[in-house]
Protein backbone atom coordinates (compact mmCIF):
# COMPACT_ATOMS: atom_id res chain seq x y z
CA UNK A 1 0.00 0.00 0.00
CA UNK A 2 1.36 3.33 -0.95
CA UNK A 3 0.87 5.99 1.65
CA UNK A 4 2.22 9.46 2.09
CA UNK A 5 4.89 10.35 4.59
CA UNK A 6 2.57 12.79 6.30
CA UNK A 7 0.21 9.93 6.99
CA UNK A 8 3.07 7.68 7.92
CA UNK A 9 4.17 10.12 10.56
CA UNK A 10 0.78 9.79 12.19
CA UNK A 11 0.76 6.05 12.27
CA UNK A 12 3.55 5.45 14.72
CA UNK A 13 3.22 1.79 13.94
CA UNK A 14 5.74 -0.71 15.17
CA UNK A 15 8.28 -2.11 12.78
CA UNK A 16 8.05 -5.66 11.63
CA UNK A 17 10.74 -7.47 9.73
CA UNK A 18 8.39 -8.60 6.96
CA UNK A 19 9.73 -6.06 4.52
CA UNK A 20 13.34 -6.89 5.27
CA UNK A 21 12.61 -10.60 4.88
CA UNK A 22 10.92 -10.01 1.56
CA UNK A 23 13.93 -8.02 0.38
CA UNK A 24 16.31 -10.75 1.40
CA UNK A 25 14.31 -13.30 -0.55
CA UNK A 26 13.85 -11.21 -3.69
CA UNK A 27 16.91 -10.11 -5.63
CA UNK A 28 16.92 -6.44 -6.57
CA UNK A 29 15.49 -5.64 -9.98
CA UNK A 30 17.88 -3.83 -12.30
CA UNK A 31 15.74 -1.39 -14.22
CA UNK A 32 16.41 1.66 -16.41
CA UNK A 33 13.28 3.34 -15.04
CA UNK A 34 14.02 6.23 -12.69
CA UNK A 35 11.66 5.89 -9.71
CA UNK A 36 9.25 8.80 -9.42
CA UNK A 37 9.22 8.86 -5.63
CA UNK A 38 9.77 6.68 -2.60
CA UNK A 39 7.53 3.65 -2.23
CA UNK A 40 6.80 3.27 1.45
CA UNK A 41 5.11 0.22 2.81
CA UNK A 42 3.29 -0.01 6.10
CA UNK A 43 3.82 -0.66 8.91
CA UNK A 44 6.45 2.02 9.07
CA UNK A 45 9.11 3.31 11.39
CA UNK A 46 12.17 5.45 10.99
CA UNK A 47 14.17 2.32 10.15
CA UNK A 48 11.71 0.98 7.63
CA UNK A 49 11.49 4.32 5.87
CA UNK A 50 15.26 4.62 5.84
CA UNK A 51 15.26 1.27 4.10
CA UNK A 52 12.63 2.48 1.60
CA UNK A 53 14.65 5.59 0.79
CA UNK A 54 17.83 3.52 0.50
CA UNK A 55 16.00 1.32 -1.99
CA UNK A 56 15.04 4.44 -3.90
CA UNK A 57 18.71 5.43 -3.92
CA UNK A 58 19.87 2.14 -5.39
CA UNK A 59 17.04 2.04 -7.94
CA UNK A 60 17.95 5.57 -9.02
CA UNK A 61 21.66 4.74 -9.09
CA UNK A 62 21.01 1.82 -11.44
CA UNK A 63 18.65 3.80 -13.67
CA UNK A 64 20.98 6.79 -13.98
CA UNK A 65 23.99 4.61 -14.69
CA UNK A 66 22.15 2.71 -17.40
CA UNK A 67 23.75 2.94 -20.85
CA UNK A 68 22.28 5.85 -22.79
CA UNK A 69 21.12 6.26 -26.35
CA UNK A 70 22.52 9.09 -28.41
CA UNK A 71 19.69 11.33 -27.19
CA UNK A 72 20.51 10.61 -23.54
CA UNK A 73 17.54 8.35 -22.87
CA UNK A 74 18.16 4.93 -21.35
CA UNK A 75 19.03 2.29 -23.89
CA UNK A 76 16.54 -0.32 -22.79
CA UNK A 77 17.97 -2.92 -25.15
CA UNK A 78 21.30 -2.75 -23.32
CA UNK A 79 22.14 -3.99 -19.86
CA UNK A 80 23.66 -1.92 -17.12
CA UNK A 81 27.43 -2.12 -17.31
CA UNK A 82 27.54 -2.07 -21.09
CA UNK A 83 30.17 0.37 -22.38
CA UNK A 84 29.33 3.91 -23.31
CA UNK A 85 27.87 7.03 -21.84
CA UNK A 86 25.41 6.66 -18.99
CA UNK A 87 22.09 8.47 -18.72
CA UNK A 88 23.25 11.13 -16.28
CA UNK A 89 26.43 11.82 -18.24
CA UNK A 90 24.25 13.13 -21.06
CA UNK A 91 22.80 15.81 -18.78
CA UNK A 92 23.87 19.45 -18.66
CA UNK A 93 26.93 20.41 -16.67
CA UNK A 94 26.67 23.56 -14.58
CA UNK A 95 29.21 25.43 -16.71
CA UNK A 96 26.90 24.92 -19.70
CA UNK A 97 23.98 26.55 -17.89
CA UNK A 98 25.45 29.53 -16.08
CA UNK A 99 27.34 31.21 -18.85
CA UNK A 100 29.49 34.34 -18.89
CA UNK A 101 27.45 37.56 -19.00
CA UNK A 102 24.30 35.62 -18.15
CA UNK A 103 23.85 34.37 -21.67
CA UNK A 104 20.99 32.01 -22.40
CA UNK A 105 22.14 28.38 -22.41
CA UNK A 106 21.99 26.43 -25.62
CA UNK A 107 19.04 24.10 -26.03
CA UNK A 108 19.06 20.80 -24.16
CA UNK A 109 20.00 18.84 -27.28
CA UNK A 110 22.79 21.18 -28.33
CA UNK A 111 26.41 20.67 -27.39
CA UNK A 112 27.96 23.45 -25.34
CA UNK A 113 31.54 24.29 -26.32
CA UNK A 114 34.07 23.71 -23.54
CA UNK A 115 36.19 26.56 -22.15
CA UNK A 116 38.56 28.14 -24.66
CA UNK A 117 41.56 26.39 -23.19
CA UNK A 118 39.98 23.03 -24.00
CA UNK A 119 39.02 23.84 -27.55
CA UNK A 120 41.22 22.14 -30.08
CA UNK A 121 42.96 20.28 -27.30
CA UNK A 122 42.75 16.77 -26.29
CA UNK A 123 41.59 13.88 -28.32
CA UNK A 124 38.58 14.49 -30.51
CA UNK A 125 37.44 10.87 -30.48
CA UNK A 126 37.48 11.02 -26.71
CA UNK A 127 35.26 14.07 -26.74
CA UNK A 128 32.88 12.32 -29.07
CA UNK A 129 32.80 9.36 -26.74
CA UNK A 130 31.68 11.73 -24.03
CA UNK A 131 28.75 12.73 -26.20
CA UNK A 132 26.95 16.03 -26.20
CA UNK A 133 28.56 17.33 -23.05
CA UNK A 134 32.31 17.50 -22.92
CA UNK A 135 33.76 15.97 -19.77
CA UNK A 136 35.15 19.16 -18.39
CA UNK A 137 35.98 18.84 -14.74
CA UNK A 138 36.88 22.25 -13.47
CA UNK A 139 36.05 22.04 -9.78
CA UNK A 140 38.51 20.82 -7.25
CA UNK A 141 37.69 22.79 -4.13
CA UNK A 142 35.13 21.25 -1.79
CA UNK A 143 32.23 22.95 0.02
CA UNK A 144 33.17 26.07 1.97
CA UNK A 145 36.61 25.88 0.37
CA UNK A 146 37.60 23.26 2.91
CA UNK A 147 40.24 21.99 0.52
CA UNK A 148 40.93 19.64 -2.34
CA UNK A 149 41.16 15.87 -2.12
CA UNK A 150 44.40 14.31 -3.37
CA UNK A 151 44.56 10.67 -4.45
CA UNK A 152 47.38 8.25 -3.71
CA UNK A 153 49.09 9.25 -6.95
CA UNK A 154 49.31 12.85 -5.70
CA UNK A 155 46.69 14.14 -8.13
CA UNK A 156 43.73 16.35 -7.29
CA UNK A 157 40.27 14.82 -7.45
CA UNK A 158 37.82 16.67 -9.71
CA UNK A 159 34.09 17.28 -9.43
CA UNK A 160 31.24 17.97 -11.80
CA UNK A 161 27.58 18.87 -11.31
CA UNK A 162 24.96 17.83 -13.82
CA UNK A 163 21.20 18.46 -13.88
CA UNK A 164 18.43 16.60 -15.66
CA UNK A 165 16.12 18.06 -18.25
CA UNK A 166 13.19 18.93 -15.93
CA UNK A 167 15.55 21.02 -13.80
CA UNK A 168 17.30 22.50 -16.82
CA UNK A 169 13.94 23.43 -18.34
CA UNK A 170 12.87 25.10 -15.09
CA UNK A 171 16.06 27.16 -15.06
CA UNK A 172 15.83 28.17 -18.70
CA UNK A 173 12.07 28.74 -18.93
CA UNK A 174 12.09 30.97 -15.85
CA UNK A 175 15.24 32.81 -16.86
CA UNK A 176 17.10 31.75 -13.75
CA UNK A 177 20.42 31.39 -15.59
CA UNK A 178 21.19 35.12 -15.21
CA UNK A 179 21.05 37.53 -12.30
CA UNK A 180 18.65 39.79 -14.14
CA UNK A 181 16.49 36.84 -15.12
CA UNK A 182 16.21 35.82 -11.48
CA UNK A 183 15.28 39.38 -10.53
CA UNK A 184 12.59 39.50 -13.20
CA UNK A 185 11.14 36.14 -12.20
CA UNK A 186 11.12 36.91 -8.49
CA UNK A 187 9.74 40.42 -8.97
CA UNK A 188 6.32 38.80 -9.23
CA UNK A 189 5.00 38.48 -5.71
CA UNK A 190 3.75 34.90 -6.03
CA UNK A 191 6.87 33.52 -7.65
CA UNK A 192 9.41 31.48 -5.76
CA UNK A 193 12.12 29.02 -6.74
CA UNK A 194 10.48 25.61 -6.68
CA UNK A 195 11.81 22.91 -8.94
CA UNK A 196 9.54 20.16 -10.18
CA UNK A 197 8.67 17.31 -7.86
CA UNK A 198 8.76 13.64 -8.77
CA UNK A 199 5.34 12.13 -8.39
CA UNK A 200 3.98 8.59 -8.38
CA UNK A 201 0.53 9.98 -9.03
CA UNK A 202 1.55 11.85 -12.18
CA UNK A 203 4.27 9.39 -13.16
CA UNK A 204 6.78 12.22 -13.32
CA UNK A 205 10.49 12.33 -12.58
CA UNK A 206 11.31 15.46 -10.64
CA UNK A 207 14.33 17.69 -10.77
CA UNK A 208 17.56 15.74 -10.29
CA UNK A 209 21.09 16.94 -9.66
CA UNK A 210 24.11 14.67 -9.84
CA UNK A 211 27.39 15.69 -8.29
CA UNK A 212 30.28 13.44 -9.21
CA UNK A 213 33.86 13.10 -8.01
CA UNK A 214 36.55 11.70 -10.28
CA UNK A 215 40.14 10.71 -9.88
CA UNK A 216 42.67 10.77 -12.67
CA UNK A 217 43.64 7.17 -13.32
CA UNK A 218 47.35 6.48 -13.22
CA UNK A 219 49.98 4.67 -11.24
CA UNK A 220 48.63 1.33 -10.14
CA UNK A 221 45.01 2.19 -10.85
CA UNK A 222 43.15 -0.41 -12.85
CA UNK A 223 40.60 1.36 -15.07
CA UNK A 224 38.48 -1.78 -15.16
CA UNK A 225 37.68 -1.32 -11.48
CA UNK A 226 36.09 2.06 -12.14
CA UNK A 227 33.41 3.62 -14.20
CA UNK A 228 36.13 5.21 -16.30
CA UNK A 229 35.81 7.84 -19.01
CA UNK A 230 38.10 10.06 -21.02
CA UNK A 231 37.56 13.65 -20.00
CA UNK A 232 39.06 17.04 -20.48
CA UNK A 233 40.46 18.06 -17.12
CA UNK A 234 40.35 21.83 -16.95
CA UNK A 235 42.17 24.08 -14.48
CA UNK A 236 41.33 27.79 -14.49
CA UNK A 237 44.35 30.06 -14.50
CA UNK A 238 45.22 32.44 -11.69
CA UNK A 239 47.56 35.43 -11.96
CA UNK A 240 46.87 36.93 -8.54
CA UNK A 241 49.14 35.53 -5.82
CA UNK A 242 46.77 36.97 -3.18
CA UNK A 243 44.03 34.58 -4.22
CA UNK A 244 46.05 31.38 -4.45
CA UNK A 245 48.82 29.73 -6.37
CA UNK A 246 49.77 31.46 -9.60
CA UNK A 247 49.03 28.87 -12.23
CA UNK A 248 48.39 28.93 -15.94
CA UNK A 249 45.05 27.91 -17.37
CA UNK A 250 45.28 24.37 -18.61
CA UNK A 251 43.22 21.62 -20.12
CA UNK A 252 44.25 18.11 -20.91
CA UNK A 253 42.59 14.86 -21.84
CA UNK A 254 42.78 12.31 -19.05
CA UNK A 255 41.32 8.95 -18.23
CA UNK A 256 39.32 9.47 -15.05
CA UNK A 257 37.49 7.08 -12.76
CA UNK A 258 34.32 7.75 -10.79
CA UNK A 259 34.95 7.73 -7.03
CA UNK A 260 31.94 9.58 -5.61
CA UNK A 261 28.38 10.27 -6.68
CA UNK A 262 25.64 12.31 -5.06
CA UNK A 263 22.22 11.85 -6.61
CA UNK A 264 19.68 14.43 -5.45
CA UNK A 265 16.05 14.00 -6.46
CA UNK A 266 13.19 16.31 -5.55
CA UNK A 267 9.96 14.42 -5.03
CA UNK A 268 6.48 15.04 -3.72
CA UNK A 269 7.24 13.10 -0.56
CA UNK A 270 10.64 14.75 -0.20
CA UNK A 271 10.35 18.47 -0.99
CA UNK A 272 13.73 18.89 0.69
CA UNK A 273 14.97 16.40 -1.94
CA UNK A 274 16.29 12.87 -1.48
CA UNK A 275 20.07 12.89 -1.02
CA UNK A 276 21.67 9.62 -2.11
CA UNK A 277 25.39 9.31 -1.64
CA UNK A 278 27.54 6.64 -3.30
CA UNK A 279 31.26 5.95 -3.32
CA UNK A 280 33.76 3.57 -4.78
CA UNK A 281 34.18 0.68 -2.34
CA UNK A 282 37.94 1.20 -2.12
CA UNK A 283 37.89 4.89 -1.24
CA UNK A 284 38.69 4.94 2.48
CA UNK A 285 38.58 2.83 5.66
CA UNK A 286 36.19 3.70 8.42
CA UNK A 287 37.52 5.47 11.47
CA UNK A 288 36.34 2.52 13.55
CA UNK A 289 38.17 -0.03 11.39
CA UNK A 290 41.03 -1.42 13.49
CA UNK A 291 44.46 -0.52 12.15
CA UNK A 292 45.38 -4.13 11.50
CA UNK A 293 42.27 -4.55 9.37
CA UNK A 294 42.97 -1.54 7.15
CA UNK A 295 44.41 -3.62 4.35
CA UNK A 296 43.46 -1.53 1.37
CA UNK A 297 44.85 -0.54 -0.94
CA UNK A 298 42.63 2.49 -0.63
CA UNK A 299 42.26 5.33 -3.09
CA UNK A 300 42.50 8.07 -0.44
CA UNK A 301 44.28 6.41 2.48
CA UNK A 302 47.71 4.85 2.81
CA UNK A 303 47.54 1.83 5.09
CA UNK A 304 51.33 1.87 5.33
CA UNK A 305 51.27 5.37 6.79
CA UNK A 306 48.69 4.93 9.50
CA UNK A 307 50.57 7.29 11.82
CA UNK A 308 49.78 10.25 9.58
CA UNK A 309 47.04 12.63 10.77
CA UNK A 310 43.74 11.99 9.04
CA UNK A 311 41.16 14.20 7.36
CA UNK A 312 43.39 17.24 7.07
CA UNK A 313 43.34 19.28 3.88
CA UNK A 314 46.57 19.83 1.93
CA UNK A 315 48.69 22.80 2.86
CA UNK A 316 48.05 25.95 0.89
CA UNK A 317 48.59 27.21 -1.71
CA UNK A 318 46.56 24.61 -3.55
CA UNK A 319 47.95 24.01 -6.99
CA UNK A 320 46.24 21.28 -9.00
CA UNK A 321 48.93 21.52 -11.68
CA UNK A 322 51.51 19.97 -9.35
CA UNK A 323 51.72 16.69 -7.52
CA UNK A 324 50.68 16.98 -3.90
CA UNK A 325 50.97 14.90 -0.76
CA UNK A 326 48.23 12.26 -0.91
CA UNK A 327 45.26 12.81 1.39
CA UNK A 328 44.90 10.51 4.38
CA UNK A 329 41.16 10.10 4.79
CA UNK A 330 38.90 7.97 6.96
CA UNK A 331 35.12 7.82 7.12
CA UNK A 332 33.96 9.27 10.43
CA UNK A 333 30.40 7.94 10.41
CA UNK A 334 30.40 4.22 9.59
CA UNK A 335 27.83 2.64 7.34
CA UNK A 336 25.00 1.00 9.25
CA UNK A 337 24.51 -2.76 9.29
CA UNK A 338 21.29 -2.31 7.30
CA UNK A 339 23.12 -0.33 4.62
CA UNK A 340 25.83 -2.97 4.40
CA UNK A 341 23.16 -5.62 3.95
CA UNK A 342 21.34 -3.69 1.26
CA UNK A 343 24.60 -2.90 -0.52
CA UNK A 344 25.50 -6.58 -0.61
CA UNK A 345 22.18 -7.38 -2.27
CA UNK A 346 22.56 -4.75 -4.97
CA UNK A 347 26.24 -5.41 -5.52
CA UNK A 348 25.33 -9.06 -5.95
CA UNK A 349 22.78 -8.18 -8.60
CA UNK A 350 25.38 -5.97 -10.31
CA UNK A 351 28.09 -8.64 -10.18
CA UNK A 352 30.08 -8.71 -13.39
CA UNK A 353 29.63 -5.00 -13.96
CA UNK A 354 31.82 -2.17 -12.78
CA UNK A 355 28.89 -0.87 -10.74
CA UNK A 356 29.36 -3.66 -8.20
CA UNK A 357 32.41 -1.65 -7.09
CA UNK A 358 30.24 1.14 -5.71
CA UNK A 359 28.39 1.36 -2.41
CA UNK A 360 25.63 3.44 -0.92
CA UNK A 361 26.85 5.46 2.04
CA UNK A 362 23.36 6.51 3.08
CA UNK A 363 20.30 8.43 1.99
CA UNK A 364 19.18 11.61 3.69
CA UNK A 365 15.45 12.36 3.55
CA UNK A 366 12.97 14.61 5.38
CA UNK A 367 10.98 12.99 8.18
CA UNK A 368 8.70 16.04 8.36
CA UNK A 369 8.21 17.08 4.74
CA UNK A 370 6.19 20.15 3.86
CA UNK A 371 2.57 19.61 2.88
CA UNK A 372 3.15 21.30 -0.46
CA UNK A 373 6.31 20.22 -2.24
CA UNK A 374 6.64 23.66 -3.81
CA UNK A 375 6.26 25.74 -0.64
CA UNK A 376 8.60 25.31 2.34
CA UNK A 377 7.17 24.79 5.80
CA UNK A 378 7.26 28.15 7.64
CA UNK A 379 8.41 26.62 10.92
CA UNK A 380 10.47 23.65 9.77
CA UNK A 381 11.80 24.32 6.28
CA UNK A 382 14.51 21.74 6.81
CA UNK A 383 11.98 18.96 7.40
CA UNK A 384 14.00 17.23 10.17
CA UNK A 385 16.42 15.17 8.08
CA UNK A 386 17.26 11.53 8.67
CA UNK A 387 20.00 10.69 9.23
CA UNK A 388 21.05 13.92 10.95
CA UNK A 389 24.41 13.92 9.19
CA UNK A 390 25.69 12.51 5.93
CA UNK A 391 29.06 13.01 4.27
CA UNK A 392 30.64 11.54 1.18
CA UNK A 393 34.35 11.00 1.77
CA UNK A 394 35.17 12.38 -1.68
CA UNK A 395 32.82 15.35 -1.66
CA UNK A 396 32.59 16.46 1.98
CA UNK A 397 35.94 15.07 3.04
CA UNK A 398 36.89 17.67 5.61
CA UNK A 399 33.57 18.40 7.30
CA UNK A 400 32.48 14.94 8.35
CA UNK A 401 31.15 14.51 11.87
CA UNK A 402 28.11 15.09 14.07
CA UNK A 403 28.26 18.76 15.07
CA UNK A 404 25.16 20.71 14.06
CA UNK A 405 25.81 23.57 11.64
CA UNK A 406 29.43 22.47 11.21
CA UNK A 407 29.41 18.85 10.08
CA UNK A 408 28.09 17.74 6.75
CA UNK A 409 24.36 17.41 6.43
CA UNK A 410 23.24 17.69 2.81
CA UNK A 411 19.90 19.25 3.64
CA UNK A 412 21.15 21.61 6.35
CA UNK A 413 23.87 22.92 4.10
CA UNK A 414 21.79 23.29 0.96
CA UNK A 415 18.93 24.88 2.89
CA UNK A 416 21.23 27.92 3.05
CA UNK A 417 21.55 28.15 -0.73
CA UNK A 418 20.38 31.46 -2.12
CA UNK A 419 19.57 33.06 -5.44
CA UNK A 420 21.19 36.32 -6.58
CA UNK A 421 18.09 38.16 -5.27
CA UNK A 422 18.47 38.26 -1.51
CA UNK A 423 15.72 40.74 -0.78
CA UNK A 424 13.45 38.49 1.24
CA UNK A 425 13.19 34.86 2.30
CA UNK A 426 10.90 34.22 -0.66
CA UNK A 427 13.31 35.60 -3.23
CA UNK A 428 16.49 34.33 -1.62
CA UNK A 429 15.49 30.69 -1.13
CA UNK A 430 17.02 28.69 -3.98
CA UNK A 431 15.30 25.35 -3.29
CA UNK A 432 18.36 23.55 -1.97
CA UNK A 433 20.73 24.25 -4.85
CA UNK A 434 23.77 26.48 -4.85
CA UNK A 435 23.77 26.43 -8.64
CA UNK A 436 21.65 29.57 -8.91
CA UNK A 437 24.38 31.56 -7.17
CA UNK A 438 26.48 30.95 -10.27
CA UNK A 439 24.17 33.08 -12.41
CA UNK A 440 26.12 35.99 -13.82
CA UNK A 441 24.93 39.45 -14.68
CA UNK A 442 24.06 40.33 -18.24
CA UNK A 443 25.37 43.81 -17.51
CA UNK A 444 21.97 45.33 -18.21
CA UNK A 445 21.17 48.35 -16.07
CA UNK A 446 18.73 47.66 -13.29
Amino acid sequence: MKITLKRLACLGASFTSALAMADAATPPVLSPAIPFDVTANSPTTLDSLQHDFDMLSWQTFVALNWPANADGSANTSAKIGAPGQTVWESWKESYAIFLPRGQKPLAWVQHTPPPAACQGKGNLPVLQQMGKVAGVLDEFIQPFKTGPLVDQNGTYTRNAIMVNQPMFDDIVNKGLYSKEGQQAFLSKADNRIAFSCGSQEHKEVGAIMVKSAWKVLGGNDNPQEFHAVDALVYTPGNTDPNTGAVIPESCSAQKVGLVGLHIVHKTKEAPQWVWSSFEHVRNVPEETTPMNERKGPYLFYDAQASNRPVNEPPEQPWDPSKKATPSQIVREIPLTAATHQLNAQWQGALQGTVWANYQLISTQWPTAPADDCKVPSPTNPLGTPAPNFLANATLETYNQGITPQASSSCMECHNNATTRVTQSPRTSFADFTFLLERAQSTGAKE
Binding site: G12, T45, L46, T379, N380, P404, T418, S424
Partner: protein, 163 residues
Amino acid sequence: MSDPNLQNFINLSAALTGLAADLLAPALDPIKLPPLFLATAQQGMGTAAFSNLLTLYASVKDQTPAQIASAVLGSSDAQIAQGARSIMKLWLLGSWYQPYDQGNAHKGNVRVVSDQAYKESWAWKIAQSHPMGYSQYHFGYWNEQPPTLKQFTGVDAKEGQQP
Protein backbone atom coordinates in the same frame (compact mmCIF):
# COMPACT_ATOMS: atom_id res chain seq x y z
CA MET B 1 6.35 3.03 21.72
CA SER B 2 7.29 -0.20 23.43
CA ASP B 3 8.78 1.26 26.63
CA PRO B 4 5.92 2.17 29.01
CA ASN B 5 8.25 4.27 31.16
CA LEU B 6 9.24 6.32 28.14
CA GLN B 7 5.65 6.76 27.05
CA ASN B 8 4.63 7.83 30.55
CA PHE B 9 7.57 10.22 30.70
CA ILE B 10 6.53 11.80 27.41
CA ASN B 11 2.88 12.07 28.40
CA LEU B 12 3.85 13.56 31.75
CA SER B 13 6.12 16.01 29.94
CA ALA B 14 3.23 16.97 27.67
CA ALA B 15 1.04 17.72 30.68
CA LEU B 16 3.81 19.78 32.30
CA THR B 17 4.75 21.82 29.24
CA GLY B 18 1.40 22.14 27.49
CA LEU B 19 2.95 20.80 24.31
CA ALA B 20 1.41 17.80 22.57
CA ALA B 21 3.13 14.46 23.13
CA ASP B 22 3.51 13.92 19.38
CA LEU B 23 5.41 17.19 19.12
CA LEU B 24 7.74 16.26 21.96
CA ALA B 25 8.22 12.76 20.54
CA PRO B 26 7.37 12.62 16.83
CA ALA B 27 6.53 9.20 15.40
CA LEU B 28 9.45 9.64 13.01
CA ASP B 29 12.23 11.04 15.14
CA PRO B 30 15.83 10.90 13.90
CA ILE B 31 17.05 13.16 16.72
CA LYS B 32 15.82 10.91 19.54
CA LEU B 33 15.75 13.36 22.41
CA PRO B 34 13.00 11.64 24.47
CA PRO B 35 15.09 8.63 25.55
CA LEU B 36 18.03 10.95 26.21
CA PHE B 37 15.85 13.22 28.32
CA LEU B 38 14.40 10.26 30.23
CA ALA B 39 17.90 9.03 31.04
CA THR B 40 18.94 12.54 32.02
CA ALA B 41 15.99 13.00 34.37
CA GLN B 42 16.39 9.54 35.85
CA GLN B 43 20.05 10.15 36.58
CA GLY B 44 19.49 13.67 37.84
CA MET B 45 16.59 12.81 40.15
CA GLY B 46 17.88 9.42 41.19
CA THR B 47 16.20 6.17 40.24
CA ALA B 48 13.90 6.02 43.25
CA ALA B 49 12.61 9.60 43.01
CA PHE B 50 12.14 9.30 39.27
CA SER B 51 10.22 6.07 39.74
CA ASN B 52 8.03 7.76 42.35
CA LEU B 53 7.32 10.56 39.90
CA LEU B 54 6.21 8.14 37.19
CA THR B 55 4.15 6.18 39.71
CA LEU B 56 2.36 9.34 40.75
CA TYR B 57 1.80 10.21 37.09
CA ALA B 58 0.37 6.75 36.40
CA SER B 59 -2.16 7.26 39.18
CA VAL B 60 -3.46 10.53 37.72
CA LYS B 61 -2.84 10.10 34.00
CA ASP B 62 -6.53 9.90 33.13
CA GLN B 63 -7.13 13.37 34.52
CA THR B 64 -6.84 16.60 32.59
CA PRO B 65 -3.36 17.98 31.86
CA ALA B 66 -3.95 20.82 34.30
CA GLN B 67 -4.93 18.38 37.05
CA ILE B 68 -1.91 16.19 36.29
CA ALA B 69 0.45 19.16 36.43
CA SER B 70 -1.15 20.33 39.67
CA ALA B 71 -0.83 16.91 41.27
CA VAL B 72 2.81 16.56 40.31
CA LEU B 73 4.01 20.10 40.96
CA GLY B 74 2.05 20.28 44.20
CA SER B 75 3.20 16.89 45.44
CA SER B 76 4.10 16.70 49.11
CA ASP B 77 7.20 14.78 48.03
CA ALA B 78 9.61 17.66 47.39
CA GLN B 79 11.82 15.59 45.11
CA ILE B 80 8.87 14.82 42.83
CA ALA B 81 7.84 18.47 42.58
CA GLN B 82 11.37 19.78 42.12
CA GLY B 83 12.25 17.03 39.67
CA ALA B 84 9.14 17.81 37.63
CA ARG B 85 10.18 21.46 37.40
CA SER B 86 13.60 20.40 36.13
CA ILE B 87 11.94 18.18 33.53
CA MET B 88 9.96 21.19 32.30
CA LYS B 89 13.20 23.18 31.99
CA LEU B 90 14.82 20.25 30.25
CA TRP B 91 12.29 20.31 27.43
CA LEU B 92 12.17 24.09 27.29
CA LEU B 93 15.89 24.83 27.50
CA GLY B 94 17.69 21.61 26.66
CA SER B 95 19.56 21.85 29.96
CA TRP B 96 19.34 19.87 33.16
CA TYR B 97 18.91 22.00 36.27
CA GLN B 98 19.92 19.80 39.20
CA PRO B 99 16.96 20.12 41.60
CA TYR B 100 18.67 18.80 44.72
CA ASP B 101 21.89 17.08 45.71
CA GLN B 102 22.02 13.69 44.07
CA GLY B 103 25.16 11.59 43.80
CA ASN B 104 27.97 13.84 42.64
CA ALA B 105 25.57 16.47 41.34
CA HIS B 106 24.70 19.41 43.51
CA LYS B 107 21.57 21.50 43.64
CA GLY B 108 21.82 24.36 41.18
CA ASN B 109 24.25 22.66 38.83
CA VAL B 110 23.25 23.27 35.22
CA ARG B 111 24.46 21.46 32.14
CA VAL B 112 23.45 21.55 28.49
CA VAL B 113 22.46 17.98 27.73
CA SER B 114 23.72 17.95 24.13
CA ASP B 115 24.07 20.16 21.08
CA GLN B 116 20.87 18.69 19.66
CA ALA B 117 19.06 19.24 22.97
CA TYR B 118 20.01 22.90 22.87
CA LYS B 119 19.07 23.28 19.21
CA GLU B 120 15.71 21.56 19.58
CA SER B 121 14.66 23.03 22.91
CA TRP B 122 11.15 24.43 22.97
CA ALA B 123 11.72 27.87 24.45
CA TRP B 124 12.91 29.05 21.06
CA LYS B 125 9.80 27.83 19.29
CA ILE B 126 7.52 29.24 21.97
CA ALA B 127 9.29 32.55 21.43
CA GLN B 128 8.59 32.06 17.69
CA SER B 129 12.28 32.33 17.13
CA HIS B 130 15.36 30.11 16.84
CA PRO B 131 18.34 29.21 19.02
CA MET B 132 21.22 31.64 19.19
CA GLY B 133 23.83 30.40 16.74
CA TYR B 134 21.50 28.17 14.78
CA SER B 135 18.71 28.92 12.34
CA GLN B 136 17.06 26.96 9.57
CA TYR B 137 15.08 29.96 8.29
CA HIS B 138 15.85 31.47 4.94
CA PHE B 139 17.97 34.50 4.30
CA GLY B 140 16.16 37.68 5.28
CA TYR B 141 13.69 35.99 7.67
CA TRP B 142 14.53 38.56 10.34
CA ASN B 143 12.76 41.25 8.36
CA GLU B 144 9.43 39.42 8.32
CA GLN B 145 6.72 38.48 10.78
CA PRO B 146 7.49 35.07 12.29
CA PRO B 147 5.01 32.22 11.92
CA THR B 148 2.27 32.15 14.53
CA LEU B 149 2.58 30.52 17.91
CA LYS B 150 0.08 27.92 16.78
CA GLN B 151 2.20 27.05 13.76
CA PHE B 152 5.18 26.49 16.03
CA THR B 153 3.51 24.78 18.96
CA GLY B 154 -0.05 23.88 18.06
CA VAL B 155 -1.16 26.20 20.85
CA ASP B 156 -3.21 29.33 20.19
CA ALA B 157 -1.82 32.62 21.45
CA LYS B 158 -3.87 34.20 24.19
CA GLU B 159 -5.91 37.27 23.45
CA GLY B 160 -3.71 40.33 23.31
CA GLN B 161 -0.56 38.32 22.68
CA GLN B 162 1.52 38.33 19.55
CA PRO B 163 -0.27 35.85 17.24
